[in-house]
Amino acid sequence: MSSSGLRALGIRIASFASLILLWQIGTLILGPRKLPSPATVAYVLSADIADGSLPFHLAITLLRVAASFVTAMAIGTFLGIAMGRMPRFDRFFDSWLIVALTFPALVAAILCYLWFGFGEAAAIIAVAVNKIPNVAVTMREGARALSRDLAEMATVFRFGRLKTLRHVILPALAPFLIAAARSGLALIWKIVLVVELLGRSNGMGFQINLFFSFFDVASILAYTIAFVVVIQLIEFGILRPLDRHTVRWRR
């Protein structure tokens, strides 16, 4: 590793260590009941991992995140591209989009449970409905930015629909898709917790609500840390490398 790389790693370690230190000082000031120490939370975390409860609820929540994410990305991408390419379609749905963007996530979740019952479908629809407008807005911008020059080039050289989609349209939309996916993931997992808290009998949101009832701050922090770590792993392990790959041609 180069010296600048070592220095950057050193800064990160120092930053993390000072955060732990600050947490420990907070424990001393507030008391272990209100803010358990890092060591206590680490112990609860390892115990919940060992007995399988944390991995179980984490997996359930991640499945809900994945289902909502795929649904929101698919519908939002379709709507966004259609709005970006067809001005009449855009004019018709633009006001719908503005309403949807300002619609509170909590209200959407409650309404979905009331209309569709306390099932998985309602939970996933509630989360997806919150994210679809954001994806549509990002993809609409992407579709508007598609180059007419390149489309004409593809026409003259007889690329055909499939080849044009693969080599001209999708690569042009890729940065927008990645941006929508990254912001989508950041938003969706937060809404999933709310939806689970409101109307599911398992998952991270349900568990956190349960711990809240018993004033079990250590478990709340342990579950939160586990979840944040997993989401960060997805961000740094999948989305960022994908982002770098899609724009590797840029100078």
Binding site: D149, F157, H167, A174, W249, R251
Partner: protein, 253 residues
């Protein structure tokens, strides 16, 4: 046999909202024989690019008829187009940009040969954003020949380059054209460029564009690098139509 027969009686387009439509081309008729290199010469704004877009099928909103004939029977004619800007896919390397236009049954060796002739072998795995503008234009040139077109359309492909680079690319174009003969329809506003490249020059009138005169370039190709010969021929034969004042038909100074 003609590779392309052009008969555009009228092409108009809306210049701006509320404004009357502008006539870009009127009674434009000429044909290009197979294997011929024809330069369409005309002042800026006379409809040269519009004409190429009509031939390429990018613009179908006109009155008249354009027939492009394929080399082999039972096949659709294949077109190559070198646009004013290179129009390369930025997410594909130079080689991939050239390869992509080929049909599955085509010989892949052509790509390597064209990259070599255009001096791009070393840069074949480079993305367009990292190429100079001259190199990007060479990729566009290689791409247009890689499809082995029945008709190659070229829209002022060397415009906005410095003269030395432009001249190098013109000679490169002639070199490739000799190796891989095809019919070329090349539009330009540069008389010397037209004389250097063409078998025949079709001069268009100023807006609306129609054929004003046609010249066979009867200077042997090996003498066309001599500026004195070209200049003498040019002064003897060609004068570009100037834009005229519609009120009194006098040239605008």
């Amino acid at each position: 046999m003609n590779a392309v027969t052009i008969d555009v009686s009228l092409k108009r387009f809306a210049a701006a909202a509320q404004a009357p439509p502008v006539t870009a081309l009127r009674d434009l008729k000429f044909a290009v024989a197979r294997g011929e290199f024809v330069c369409v010469l005309g002042p800026s704004g006379c409809g040269k690019t519009t004409l190429l877009n009509i031939v390429a099928g990018l613009d179908r909103d006109y009155s008249g008829r354009v027939i492009v004939t394929a080399t082999s029977a039972n096949a659709q004619p294949t077109l190559g187009y070198v646009f004013q800007t290179p129009r390369l896919l930025p997410w594909r390397t130079a080689k991939e940009n050239v390869q992509l236009v080929q049909r599955p049954e085509q010989d892949r060796q052509i790509v390597a040969e064209l990259l070599s002739v255009t001096g791009l072998s070393e840069f074949q795995n480079t993305y367009p954003e990292r190429l100079s503008i001259g190199m990007s234009r060479r990729v566009a040139l290689a791409r247009a020949f890689a499809i082995e077109p029945d008709l190659l359309l070229m829209d002022e492909p060397f415009v906005s380059l410095d003269e030395a680079t432009a001249q190098r690319l013109r000679l490169m174009l002639l070199d490739i054209w000799r190796r891989r003969p095809t019919t070329v329809l090349f539009v330009t506003h540069d008389t010397r460029e037209a004389i250097l490249l063409a078998d025949r020059i079709v001069v268009l009138s100023a807006s609306p564009g129609s054929v004003e005169s046609v010249f066979d370039v009867d200077i042997p190709r090996e003498q066309r690098n001599d500026p004195a010969i070209v200049e003498a021929w040019r002064n003897r034969k060609i004068s570009l139509p100037r834009k005229t004042d519609p009120e009194n038909q006098a040239p605008i100074v």
